[in-house]
C-alpha cells in the first residue's frame, strides 16, 4: 500500500512533466560534447554488443566486476542525466531485490546469495552498457550507426524524429494536464482513503487527456507527413545512393580505436586476474 501512496505523490506532483522533459532533453542533447558522444557510432555499437551480451554468458565474479567497473566509468564519461541513472538503480534493485525475497519465501537459503550477486552484476553491467551507448550517443549518430548495420530505414527515421518531436509532444501533454489541473477539482488527499481516491483520479485524468492529445497530434502528423512527401522521404527510402551519402559522414578516428584498445586491455587484465585467483 505504501507503493500506492508513493505513486499518488509522484505522478503529477513531484515528477512534474517539466522536470521530465528537461531530463530527457538533457539526456539526449545536453551531453553532446563528451568523449562518448564524439565517437563513431559503429564502434560504440560493437562495443555494446560485447558488453551487452558477454556478461550474460559468464559467471566468473572477478570478470563481471571488471566489466562492471569499466561500464561504470564509461557511464560517468557519458555524463548521463540523473533520471536515467535513477531508473537504472531502480531497475537493478527491483529485479534482484524481489528475487531474493521470493527465493527465501519458497525455502531458499544463504546459498542463494552468491548466484544473486552474479545476477545483479550481470544485470547492472548490461544495463550500464546500454545506458552508456544509448544515452551517451547523440540520437542522430545512433540512427546513422544502426542504419550502417542495416537496420530498417524506418527505425532510424523514427529515432531522430522522436527526439525532434518529444519536446513538442511533452509541452502539449503538459498543457492539457494543466487544463485539467486548473479547471478540475481533485479529491481531498490528506487521509488514506483520500490518497487512494486521488491516485484513481490522477490515472483517470491521464487516460482522459489522451483524447485531446490524439486529436491534436493527428493534426500535426498530417502536416509532418505531407512535408516528408515534399522533402522526398519516400524517394530516399528506396534510393541506395542517399544511404551512401548519409553514411559518408561516419568516420573512424584514433579516439575510437583507442577506446576499443583500452577496453580490450582492461578486459584482458581482468581475465588475467581471474585466472590467477
Amino acid at each position: 500500500m505504501k507503493i500506492g501512496e508513493k505513486l499518488s505523490e509522484n505522478i503529477l506532483d513531484k515528477l512534474s512533466i517539466d522536470f521530465l522533459r528537461n531530463q530527457v532533453l538533457k539526456n539526449a542533447y545536453g551531453n553532446n560534447d563528451t568523449v562518448i558522444a564524439g565517437m563513431d557510432p559503429r564502434i560504440l555499437l560493437i562495443w555494446y554488443l560485447f558488453f551487452g551480451l558477454v556478461p550474460w554468458f559468464v559467471s566468473d565474479i572477478p570478470f563481471l566486476i571488471g566489466c562492471f567497473v569499466l561500464v561504470a566509468v564509461t557511464t560517468i564519461m557519458a555524463r548521463v542525466a540523473g533520471l536515467v541513472l535513477f531508473l537504472f538503480g531502480l531497475g537493478v534493485f527491483s529485479q534482484t531485490g524481489y528475487l531474493l525475497i521470493v527465493t527465501l519465501i519458497f525455502g531458499g537459503d544463504a546459498s542463494a546469495i552468491a548466484p544473486l550477486l552474479i545476477l545483479t552484476l550481470k544485470v547492472a553491467t548490461v544495463s550500464l552498457a546500454s545506458v552508456t551507448v544509448f544515452s551517451g550517443m547523440d540520437p542522430d549518430k545512433l540512427a546513422n550507426g544502426l542504419m550502417w548495420y542495416g537496420c530498417p530505414e524506418r527505425l532510424s527515421f523514427s529515432i531522430s524524429y522522436a527526439y525532434r518531436m518529444l519536446p513538442i509532444l511533452m509541452e502539449e501533454f503538459q498543457n492539457i494536464l494543466l487544463s485539467y489541473r486548473l479547471r478540475g477539482n481533485p479529491p481531498e488527499h490528506k487521509s488514506f482513503i483520500g490518497k487512494i481516491k486521488y491516485l484513481v483520479y490522477q490515472i483517470k485524468i491521464i487516460i482522459h487527456s489522451f483524447y485531446p492529445l490524439m486529436l491534436n497530434t493527428a493534426k500535426r502528423s498530417r502536416t509532418t507527413v505531407e512535408v516528408l512527401e515534399i522533402k522526398g522521404y519516400r524517394y530516399a527510402a528506396v534510393n541506395k545512393n542517399v544511404k551512401k551519402i548519409r553514411l559518408s559522414c561516419l568516420k573512424m578516428s584514433n579516439n575510437d580505436l583507442l577506446f576499443l584498445a583500452v577496453s580490450f586491455l582492461w578486459i584482458a587484465v581482468t581475465i588475467l586476474v581471474s585466472t590467477l585467483i
Partner: protein
C-alpha cells in the same frame, strides 16, 4: 514567362459535396511577389497545395483542369522534380521541421534527393534566410521567428523557382514579421524567386507585394497590381479583408467629401501623409484617464524566477519584480517574445512558483495553495485554444469546471454562457473542429465559466484573420462587463490601443513602462527601445504632427481633414 499556369482548375476534397476551387484560370509571372487574399475557407491553402502537386498526388479527391508549374504538369510530374521547382512553407510551420538540428533540417530535402553537395546547399539556404551562425543549434533553442525562417530555409535549400508561404507572420511579433518579409524581399529581388504568400496583413502586402489575387468562395475574382488592388476597399471588406488603415481612412474621408474624388487612395503612410492636415480647432491631447487608487487584487513582491535549461546556467526571467494589479484594471501586457509575459501569467495562476519573493492574490500569498484552489479567483486562457478543449463538446468543456465543483444551476449557467458567446448552435461540436474565431470564443467562455475576479488572456487575437479579430475584440469589449480585472498579453497593438486602460511594458524581465496609452505610445524612447510598432493610423498621425495621438480611424478622422 509564366512560372505557374492553371487552366479551369476545379477541385473537391474526398467526400466533400461542394468543390473547394471552381474553374480557376490564372497565370503567375516569373519574378512576381504575389499575395493571395480571401475570406476563411475560400480555398487559398487548397489552391497553393495544387501548385506543388500535393493535390492531387498525395491528397486524393476530384481534380479537373490542369496546373503547370515551371512547365511541369503537376498531375504527372515526379514529385521530386516538382519539389525542386516549387517550395512550400506551411502555416503550422513547427510541424514542418523534422530534424533535430538546424543545418540538418535545412539540408534534409537535398540529402533525400541524393545531392552530394547537400551540406553546402543547406548552408547557402540558411545564409539566404538570415540564419547564419545557428547551424548547430537545436530546434527548441530557436525563437518562433527563427523557427519559421528555418522552415523557409528547408524549402529554399532545393533552390526552387517558386516559394509559397501560408500566412508567414500570423504568430510573430512585428520585429520578427519584418525580418521574414525582408528575407522574402531579398529572395525575390536578388535571387529571382517568385514568391506567393497567403496573407491578410494588408500593411505588409502594401509594403512588399507586387500583385494581389482575390479568391472568393473558390472562385478567382481578380489579380491586380497591389496599389490598385488595395483600393478596392468595398470589395475587399465584403470578403472580410481589411485594407491598410490609411487606405480606409482616406476612403472614408473621400466618401464624406473631404477628399477630391479623383485622388487615388494611398496604401502606405508615405503616400498618405501629404493628403491630410490637422484641423486647427481641435485640441490635440487626448483626455487622460485618471490614475486609479483602487485596491490591489494581485501583487508581485520581490519575485525572482529562473528556468532550468538543458545546458549550462539556469535562465533568469525575473529578478526582483514588483508590481500591483488593481481591481478593475484592464491591462495589456506587451513586450517582445521571451520578455516574460507568459511566465508572469503562470506565476499568477500558481502554475509556477517563484524562486524568491511572493505572489499575492487578494492580499494572500499563494505560495502553499494548489492551482486548482485558485480557479474561482483567477483564470487563464491559453494562446493555443486547442489545449483548452479536453472534452468532446464545447458544452462539456464549458460546464466541466462547474460540474466538478457542484456549482448550483450549472446547466443554466452553461446555456447562458453559450448564448453570451454566440455558441449555442455549436454546443455539441468538438472545439478542435471549429473555425479559428469560434475556437477562440469557446476558449474565452471556458475561461470565465467559474466567474473569476481576474482573467488572464494569452494572445487572444493571434492567428486570426482581421475579420475574426474584430469579432474577438468585440467579445472582449463585452466581457469588460462580466469580469472585473482582465490582463491580456499581446503583440496586437490595435487591440492594445482600443481596449486597454493600462499598459505594462516588459523588456528583458523588467517592467520598463507602466501607464496609459498616451504615456506609452507617446514616449519615443520606450517605443524604440522595446520595438513596439504602434497601429498604422497612429504612426500616420505622428508623421503629420508629433502631438497628434490618435489610435483609431475614428479618432483620426475627428482630428484631421483632407489637404486642399
Amino acid at each position: 514567362m509564366n512560372v505557374i499556369e492553371t487552366k479551369h482548375l476545379t477541385y473537391s476534397y474526398p467526400g466533400a459535396d461542394k468543390p473547394t476551387l471552381k474553374d480557376v484560370t490564372v497565370n503567375i509571372e516569373k519574378g512576381d511577389f504575389l499575395a493571395i487574399v480571401g475570406n476563411n475557407g475560400c480555398g487559398k491553402s487548397t489552391f497553393c497545395k495544387t501548385l506543388n502537386g500535393l493535390i492531387p498526388q498525395f491528397i486524393g479527391g476530384d481534380f479537373k483542369g490542369s496546373v503547370k508549374a515551371c512547365e511541369l504538369d503537376t498531375r504527372t510530374a515526379d514529385v521530386a522534380d516538382l519539389a525542386r521547382k516549387v517550395g512550400y512553407v506551411y502555416q503550422d510551420f513547427e510541424n514542418q521541421i523534422i530534424r533535430p538540428t538546424v543545418l540538418d533540417d535545412a539540408s534534409y530535402a537535398c540529402l533525400n534527393y541524393a545531392m552530394t553537395d547537400y551540406k553546402e546547399r543547406g548552408l547557402k539556404a540558411l545564409e539566404q534566410c538570415g540564419l547564419s551562425g545557428k547551424e548547430d543549434d537545436f530546434i527548441w533553442q530557436l525563437s518562433g521567428g527563427q523557427t519559421h525562417l528555418l522552415a523557409l530555409a528547408g524549402a529554399v535549400s532545393l533552390q526552387p523557382e517558386v516559394l509559397i508561404l501560408d500566412e508567414p507572420i500570423a504568430q510573430l511579433d512585428p520585429k520578427h514579421a519584418d525580418g521574414i518579409y525582408r528575407v522574402l524581399k531579398n529572395l525575390n529581388e536578388n535571387h529571382g524567386k517568385t514568391i506567393i504568400v497567403i496573407e491578410h496583413h494588408t500593411e505588409y502586402i502594401a509594403d512588399f507585394c507586387k500583385h494581389v489575387m482575390l479568391l472568393k468562395d473558390g472562385e478567382l475574382k481578380w489579380v491586380l497590381p497591389t496599389e490598385e488592388a488595395l483600393q478596392q476597399v468595398e470589395e475587399l471588406q465584403e470578403c472580410n479583408i481589411f485594407p491598410p488603415q490609411v487606405t480606409i481612412a482616406a476612403h472614408r474621408m473621400k466618401r464624406a467629401g473631404g477628399l477630391n474624388d479623383n485622388t487615388p487612395l494611398p496604401v502606405t503612410i508615405e503616400k498618405a501623409k501629404d493628403l491630410f492636415a490637422l484641423k486647427d480647432d481641435i485640441n490635440t491631447s487626448a483626455p487622460l484617464i485618471p490614475s486609479d487608487n483602487s485596491e490591489a487584487v494581485a501583487s508581485f513582491r520581490n519575485v525572482s524566477v529562473s528556468y532550468r535549461t538543458v545546458k549550462g546556467e539556469p535562465h533568469t526571467v525575473f529578478k526582483n519584480l514588483n508590481l500591483d494589479i488593481n481591481k478593475g484594471n484592464k491591462i495589456a501586457l506587451i513586450g517582445s517574445n521571451g520578455a516574460g509575459k507568459s511566465t508572469m501569467m503562470k506565476l499568477l495562476v500558481g502554475l509556477l512558483k517563484p524562486g524568491t519573493g511572493e505572489v499575492l492574490l487578494n492580499g494572500k500569498s499563494i505560495k502553499n495553495v494548489k492551482p486548482e484552489a485558485l480557479s474561482r479567483q483567477i483564470s487563464m486562457v491559453y494562446q493555443n485554444p486547442e489545449d483548452m478543449f479536453i472534452k468532446d463538446s464545447i458544452y462539456g468543456d464549458i460546464s466541466y469546471a462547474m460540474e466538478v465543483r457542484n456549482v448550483e444551476n450549472c446547466m443554466e449557467r452553461t446555456e447562458e454562457l453559450l448564448k453570451c458567446f454566440r455558441l449555442t448552435e455549436l454546443k455539441d461540436r468538438d472545439g478542435r473542429l471549429l473555425s479559428g474565431g469560434q475556437m477562440r470564443r469557446a476558449s474565452l467562455a471556458i475561461g470565465v465559466a467559474l466567474n473569476p475576479g481576474i482573467l488572464l488572456l494569452d494572445e487572444p487575437t493571434a492567428n486570426l484573420d482581421i475579420a475574426t479579430r474584430k469579432e474577438i475584440m468585440r467579445t472582449l469589449e463585452d466581457m469588460k462587463e462580466i469580469t472585473e480585472t482582465v490582463v491580456i498579453a499581446t503583440h496586437d497593438m490595435q487591440l492594445v490601443c482600443e481596449w486597454a486602460e493600462r499598459i505594462i511594458v516588459l523588456y528583458n524581465g523588467e517592467v520598463v513602462a507602466d501607464g496609459n496609452r498616451n504615456e506609452i505610445f507617446g514616449n519615443p524612447d520606450i517605443v524604440n527601445k522595446v520595438g513596439i510598432r504602434p497601429p498604422e493610423i497612429f504612426s500616420l498621425g505622428q508623421e503629420i504632427n508629433k502631438d497628434a495621438l490618435c489610435y483609431t480611424i475614428d479618432e483620426f478622422l475627428d482630428k484631421f481633414e483632407g489637404r486642399a
